[in-house]
Structures are given as structure tokens and as C-alpha cells.
């Protein structure tokens, strides 16, 4: 198998398409790259959620989540993240029309949504750790809870940093309608984080 591959490589190399003729434009290449990253990231989340499900089904003493976790405040967090997805698509829509002011406004609102989410999550964690005395070592419930929501929180934080860089570059006038692809790719990441939260909210909090 590997021999055949090494023999074939030079032939393929000669027949390779020149980079100029590649069907992938810089924009579509960025988009494809982000989708591949998201597919890999989804596997990580998927494995973590599947493991959580297996541990939960196999455990007799699993508590009812709503007796420990605050559902109303988490529902607000879910709603904030959904709203930030809407402002994100509006930011993309604005930069496509080369509406710089609109782009900055909606991107700033998206970042604010992310920060509000992180603030509420920090408040929730503080309550659980200091008042309820939960830690990652307390039980399988707390371990899976902190790992799943913590891993997702890291993604939100990463998204806030990512979008802040785009906002700063926008303020410097570097993002124009011709470069809307940068915003679109960042939006894909942001919506993915929203999508994963929708699933975590259901599996970890509601069920």
C-alpha cells in the first residue's frame, strides 16, 4: 500500500493542478478549513457528550440536574447566545454591503453577548463551587458537568478573542466588503459554539 503510494506520488505531482487553477478561492478555502476544524471539534464534543450519557445511564445515584443547577438563569444564557448569533449574521450582512458602522455595531453586540454569557457562567460556577461545595472531584455528575460546560466556556472565550481581533481590525478600517470571507468564517465558529450550547443545555440541564 505504502509502496504503491510512494511510486504514485511523483506521477500525481506532475499532474497536479497549478495553485492558480485550484477550484478553491481564498474565501472558500478559509470556509472549508473552518468546517473541517468544526467537524473535528464536533467529534470532541460528541465524544464527551456520549461519555456523559454512558456514565449517567450506568449510575444509580445520578441527581436530577434541576435540583442542583439553575435552569432559569441557564435559559437566559441560552437566549443570550442565540441573540449573539443573530447579531453575528447581521454583522456579516452589514460588511457585505460595506456598511462599516453597522459591522462594528453588530460585531460589538456579538462580543457583548459572549461576555454576558461568560459572566453568567462564572456566576453559576462560583455559586456551585463556593455555596454548593461542588468540585470536579465531588461526583461523576459534577465532573461531567464541569468538563462539558468548562470546555464549552473555553470555546466561548476563544470566540470572544477571535471576534475582538476582527472588531479591532474593523476599527482600523482593514475589513471591507471584499474581505467579508474573514467575517463569514469567524461567524461559522461562533454559530457552532451556539449550536453546541443548545445541545449541552438540553442534555446536561434539562434532561
Amino acid at each position: 500500500m505504502s509502496e504503491a503510494a510512494t511510486v504514485q506520488t511523483p506521477i500525481h505531482h506532475e499532474a497536479a493542478i497549478e495553485p492558480v487553477q485550484s477550484p478553491l478561492t481564498p474565501d472558500s478555502m478559509g470556509k472549508l478549513g473552518m468546517w473541517l476544524f468544526l467537524a473535528a471539534d464536533a467529534m470532541t464534543f460528541g465524544a464527551a457528550i456520549a461519555a456523559y450519557g454512558a456514565l449517567r445511564i450506568g449510575n444509580l445515584n445520578w441527581p436530577v440536574p434541576s435540583t442542583i443547577l439553575g435552569i432559569p438563569s441557564t435559559a437566559v444564557m441560552t437566549f443570550i447566545l442565540i441573540c449573539s448569533s443573530v447579531t453575528m449574521v447581521e454583522a456579516l450582512s452589514a460588511i457585505r454591503r460595506d456598511d462599516q458602522a453597522g459591522y462594528r455595531k453588530f460585531l460589538a453586540l456579538t462580543i457583548l453577548g459572549g461576555l454576558a454569557f461568560l459572566g453568567l457562567q462564572a456566576r453559576e460556577w462560583t455559586h456551585l463551587i463556593l455555596t454548593e461545595g461542588l468540585s470536579i472531584k465531588t461526583s461523576l455528575f459534577s465532573a461531567t458537568f464541569f468538563i462539558l460546560t468548562g470546555f464549552h466556556g473555553c470555546h466561548v472565550f476563544g470566540g470572544v478573542v477571535y471576534l475582538s481581533v476582527l472588531l479591532l481590525r474593523g476599527l482600523a478600517g482593514k475589513i471591507t466588503a471584499a474581505r467579508y470571507g474573514l467575517v463569514e468564517v469567524a461567524g461559522l465558529y461562533w454559530h457552532f459554539v451556539d449550536l453546541v450550547w443548545i445541545l449541552i443545555f438540553t442534555f446536561v440541564y434539562l434532561i
Binding site: K31, A39, M43, A50, A54, I82, C83, S93, T202, L206
Partner: protein, 127 residues
């Protein structure tokens, strides 16, 4: 500047506010289902269905999968399929756990009988 294929494809703009309202309504429905006095199995089924409906709305309209080439949809569905397989691969483990749960009393008795020192409390017994 030449119009790139992705631009030509992605220029359809869905009504984002409508999607936002759908997502908000589905979230409220989820909360209603979560607190409704219905059997656990029905509740879990409904909640999972509602969550996937919301996830599909986000992927199709916010992430524009509906207006993209099919290749991207295939890339996006790959982890969904793989995670489904992964979940089914956990079934043997789950079934042994559930079996052990149902027969816990017998297992504990057997362990008790097998161990030579039966004087101390069995750590496997839940108080």
C-alpha cells in the same frame, strides 16, 4: 473584482429575525416540556427532538448550510454520523452496567461469600 463562487452561492439571505423567533419559541417549548408532568421517556424524546431542531436551524440558516454546496453539508454531517456510531458502540458497556444494576444484590452477596474476611462492612454496599 471577480465574483467568487462562494459569494454567488451565499448571497441568498434568509430572514434571520424569523429564525431568531423560531429558536426563542423552541427554547420556551423546551422549558415547558422540561417542567411538564409527563413520563420521563416522552420528556427525553421531546427534548432531544427539540434540541436537534434548534441545532438544525442554526446550522442551516446561520451557518448557511442550506445555501452551500453539498460537500460542506457532508462534512458537517460526518461527525454527527460518527458520534451516532460511537454512542451505539457504548451499548455493550451500558447493557452490562444496567444488568449489574438489576442484579446488584446478588453480585454483592457473591462478593461477600467469596471474600474470606466477612467481618468488616462491604464497601460495595450502598448505605
Amino acid at each position: 473584482m471577480a465574483v467568487s463562487p462562494s459569494m454567488a452561492h451565499g448571497h441568498v439571505e434568509p430572514n434571520y429575525i424569523a429564525i431568531w423567533i423560531y429558536l426563542a419559541v423552541l427554547t420556551v417549548l423546551e422549558l415547558i416540556v422540561a417542567y411538564a408532568p409527563i413520563p420521563k421517556a416522552a420528556m427525553v424524546g421531546l427534548l432531544v427532538g427539540l434540541a436537534w431542531a434548534k441545532a438544525a436551524l442554526v446550522a442551516m440558516y446561520f451557518m448557511h448550510l442550506r445555501f452551500e454546496r453539498r460537500t460542506l453539508a457532508i462534512i458537517a454531517l460526518t461527525p454527527v454520523m460518527l458520534v451516532t456510531f460511537l454512542t451505539f458502540m457504548l451499548v455493550p458497556d451500558l447493557s452490562t452496567r444496567i444488568y449489574a444494576r438489576h442484579h446488584m444484590g446478588e453480585v454483592v452477596k457473591m462478593e461477600h461469600a467469596l471474600s474470606k474476611d466477612v467481618s468488616g462492612p462491604n464497601p460495595n454496599v450502598n448505605p
